[in-house]
Symmetry: C2
Subunit: 179 residues, 2 copies
Amino acid sequence: MNFCSHCGHTISFRVPEGDDRKRHVCDRCDTIHYQNPRIIAGCIPFSGDRVLLCKRSIEPRRGYWTLPAGFLENGETVLQGALRECREEACATLDTADLCGIYDIPHINQVYVFYRGPLRDDRYGAGQESLDVELFSAGEVPWDDLAFPVITLALEQFFSDRDAVPPSVHTAAVTRRLR
Amino acid sequence: MNFCSHCGHTISFRVPEGDDRKRHVCDRCDTIHYQNPRIIAGCIPFSGDRVLLCKRSIEPRRGYWTLPAGFLENGETVLQGALRECREEACATLDTADLCGIYDIPHINQVYVFYRGPLRDDRYGAGQESLDVELFSAGEVPWDDLAFPVITLALEQFFSDRDAVPPSVHTAAVTRRLR
């Protein structure tokens, strides 16, 4: 960050009055430009004992498998974001979904929030950001070709207690490669 | 948003190529400035059957009661943020805490994430953003003088099932004044 998005002047990286950490502050209009973690809304679509995974068509990790997930947009709830990503990336619909995990990735300023839900029907397919979309049982999941450690963790925890009632909600911080 | 924070040039509000919604895009360097919801990390500190509330010393809602909560900072987990807010606003320490609720407030682009945990000891007091800090049982909570609808909801749900094992995790969207 180099310039004030409000007035266009240069900014300094300094501790504002009354604060205790450095912020990007405009040298002219004094606007403080806070930077905060972003939410990744994701879902675990399932059918029977199989989950729906997407093979990424974009970088990073093109060609690796992931769950439908993406940045939460202004104006939507986390659940709405998760269902939107499922439509966009897997061309699939979930009618209901339950919160099943919150995973912090503090070194990249991200928080993943996952919902799990049954596929409405057998319609799914590759959206713009996917090369392929397929259902996998726990034994069939391409564990060595998953895109990100948080995906591995979310799937492991999903399969470990998917029959729990009420659904378990997992929390964890992902601070390094898991596998 | 009027200027590019990267190069200082003017920006347009338009749909970038390959996207499906309007973004702030630099007219010179083409940087896309995404805007996303922010996380408010909060906690419900308790001792026996009483919860610790803070009377706000700052606007908005100065003089009204709230739970320790604030914007999650880059580099910290949601739990770390919740415990930090507890220290800063209530001068109190929680050694452990469990996730107990996620509340979307989509019309102001916020997502509250609450953890609940027992106070380490009987030390607490008003931090910089508080006028007063006190313990309240369910019957003593100043229900008509709470700062925000999300605080009312989080407290109602906390008292409704605080003995559940494992702890319940509530999800809700707060789209209007509740009371």
